[in-house]
């Protein structure tokens, strides 16, 4: 579904991603680990086509289309979506309006569906009429992001720390919905969605059962492996040591 080939990316003239290569097949979910500042969010923003992320080398192929230079909304139309870690506040634009937009349906028809989707995330109709992200708590931001993704229902979904700032009770709820969004409740041969998830904690991972995990260091995918093993390794030895051990195995 997604092929990233030898990608080098600059932000404000500084090289953040270096010769990065990554393949995600249809039906797969990949987890992305790595210390702060290693380039995880930059990778997601580049895949999504944010203008500040300049591709210097390499290319991104999504569903067999070279999207390296497409604007964000064109990429979204092809079937990708993103749950942001720190989305901006937009005064006067209600969360309900945002969900309607992502549903892409006539307003009247959409309204009922929005309420039904919100109910699944325990989101009240009052919350839907609030300005998007304005004064939202950490947990509310995540729920709002996932609600929008739920309405959009993209084939390839990126999650940037969907669990940070979320309380234990809601982590289970969010974890289950993400896993459903990514077809994890279906048999492997029936899974058509794909995902790339950045996370610092293992709590969401237990619901996701990712197929593969990558550790990013200094703008590159430094090592990849089975999620359980990689996680154990990171916990036991830290990111750098984990990469060292991976390299030895190679």
């Amino acid at each position: 579904m997604l092929q990233i080939k030898n990608l080098t990316v600059e932000v404000n003239g500084k090289e953040i991603l270096r010769d990065l290569t990554l393949n995600i097949e249809s039906g797969e979910v990949h987890a992305l680990f790595g210390p702060n500042g290693c380039g995880k969010t930059t990778l997601l923003m580049t895949i999504l086509g944010y203008p500040g992320y300049k591709v210097k080398k390499g290319c991104i192929i999504f569903k067999e289309v070279d999207i390296t230079h497409l604007p964000t909304n064109e990429r979204v139309k092809l079937g990708m979506g993103m749950s942001f870690q720190h989305p901006p506040e937009i005064r006067g634009v209600k969360l309900g309006d945002m969900v309607n937009i992502t549903l892409g349906k006539e307003k009247k028809e959409a309204d009922k569906e929005v309420i039904a989707l919100a109910r699944r995330l325990n989101i009240s109709t009052d919350f839907l009429s609030r300005d998007v992200n304005l004064g939202f708590s950490g947990g509310e931001v995540k729920k709002s992001e996932i609600l929008q993704i739920l309405a959009q229902s993209p084939e390839f979904i990126m999650f940037d720390e969907p669990d940070s700032g979320v309380d234990i009770e809601n982590i289970e709820l969010i974890g289950k919905i993400i896993s459903e969004l990514l077809d994890r409740n279906k048999r492997p041969s029936k899974r058509n969605k794909a995902g790339l998830v950045i996370t610092h904690s293992g709590s969401v991972m237990q619901y996701l059962k990712a197929d593969r995990a990558h550790v990013m260091l200094d703008g590159r995918v430094a090592c990849s492996g089975m999620p359980d093993e990689v996680t154990k390794n990171i916990i036991a030895n830290g990111f750098e040591k984990c990469v060292e051990l991976c390299s030895k195995e190679d």
Binding site: T72, F84, P88, I90, Q152
Partner: protein, 393 residues
């Protein structure tokens, strides 16, 4: 702002002639078809549906006035002055006739304008509508409006000022004096629907007595040559409250110098001034706001934000606070800038094009929750605002 581009330009009043005379109409149905859209765009309901009464002035002639509600009076000011001897005590009481040459000119002309009054104790929750309409080219419309909400009454007004699409150039001078007596409430929602050739100088003051409420909503979305206004609310009574909310979208070469001032004299009085200004093309906006605190425990807040959509446009935001007593809470927040790229990008990540994203952000910016109105009226106003927005964004 550059000195020589200030909207506070002198207008040669004598350049404008007296408008044509028009015959009264018996019902709003008789209002000429050709002008119907012009007043519709100013929020006026041409058949008077869901209105407690209507007032319609074309150029200098009052062509229709009718009150459906027994607690309500609507007529031309000149007519009201003939009918009520006491009314002269309300004339030029809070807007001095020697304030400037425009007020002086209005006094000399003895023009019409509307007189709207809700009787003591009557709650007229359905809005009354008043329309001042210009159809003579090169004319000057000079009006004196008086609005009185007697004790414990409630009055909602939708006022539309409009100019015919056939007029190239005209002047509107409007003096308005509002009296909100003890325990009364007035909400006044005004839509200005002018055109590129219009010079507009409204002069407005409001007196708010004990436990009384005045809410002013102002919407300007069409271009105007120049508009200058700075209404003042005197919260003289204990617990008197004033709210000014304005939404201005200035396009073309529009020059707008507008604001609102509240003088908090009464103990525990409150004022809130909220403005949203957008300037595009070559438009220039000066957005003023001023709260003066004198009464004990008075509270005032100013929130003025501006959005600039063109490098050739200007917004000058001037919030002022003056404290004259120690037990006060006065505050302001002001912000002027362009649309944040991050917001556009976020909406694009939900599938909107750049243009769609920009338009949604502008609509959101102008989406002020207008408070204090009865539900049906709030829905009406919201619809009007959407209608106005539809044309510009």
């Amino acid at each position: 702002m550059n000195e020589n581009t200030s909207p506070d330009e002198d207008i040669a009043i004598e350049r404008f002639t007296t408008g044509k005379e028009h015959k009264p109409i018996k019902s709003l149905d008789e209002f000429p078809e050709e002008y119907r859209d012009d007043i519709l765009d100013a929020g006026i309901e041409p058949i008077g549906k869901n209105r407690a009464g209507s007032f319609l002035q074309q150029d200098d002639s009052v062509i229709y006035s009718n009150a459906e509600h027994e607690g309500l009076e609507i007529m031309g000011t000149a007519d009201a002055l003939k009918k009520y001897n006491w009314l002269k005590d309300y004339l030029w009481k809070i807007v001095p006739s020697d304030m400037d040459k425009y007020t002086a000119d209005v006094e000399l002309e003895h023009g019409q304008g509307y007189f709207i009054r809700s009787k003591a104790g009557s709650k007229v929750t359905v809005p009354a509508q008043a329309c001042l309409f210009i159809t003579s080219d090169n004319s000057g419309q000079k009006v004196h409006n008086i609005v009185i909400a007697e004790e414990n009454s409630e009055l909602h007004i939708i006022a539309g000022c409009s100019v015919s699409h056939t007029v190239n150039s005209a002047l509107h001078l409007g003096v308005s004096e509002f009296y909100v007596k003890k325990g009364a409430k007035i909400t006044f929602t005004m839509i200005h629907n002018w055109s590129e050739g219009m010079e507009v100088r409204p002069r407005t003051a409001v007196v708010i007595e004990d436990d009384a409420v005045f809410i002013d909503n102002y919407i300007l979305m069409t271009p105007v040559k120049s508009l200058q206004t700075y209404p003042t609310a005197y919260c003289v009574g204990r617990n008197a409250r004033a709210t000014f909310q304005s939404i201005v979208y200035a396009t073309g070469s529009t020059k707008v110098d507008m604001g609102a001032r509240a003088v908090l004299q009464g103990n525990n009085s409150r004022a809130e001034i909220i403005s949203r200004a957008i300037a595009t093309d070559h438009a220039k906006i000066i957005s003023r706001s001023d709260i003066i605190g004198k009464g004990a425990n008075a509270k005032g807040h100013i929130e003025c934000t501006g959005l600039l959509l063109s490098d050739d446009a200007e917004i000058d935001s001037i919030p002022e606070l003056k404290a004259m007593c120690k037990d006060l809470e006065l505050s302001h927040e002001a912000a002027v800038g362009k649309i944040a790229e991050e917001e556009i990008q976020y909406l694009m990540a939900r599938g909107l094009s750049k243009e769609e994203a920009t338009s949604l952000i502008i609509r959101g910016f102008l989406n002020v929750d207008i408070t204090g109105l009865p539900d049906a009226l709030a829905r009406d106003i919201k619809k009007m605002l959407d209608m106005c927005l539809e044309k510009v964004v």
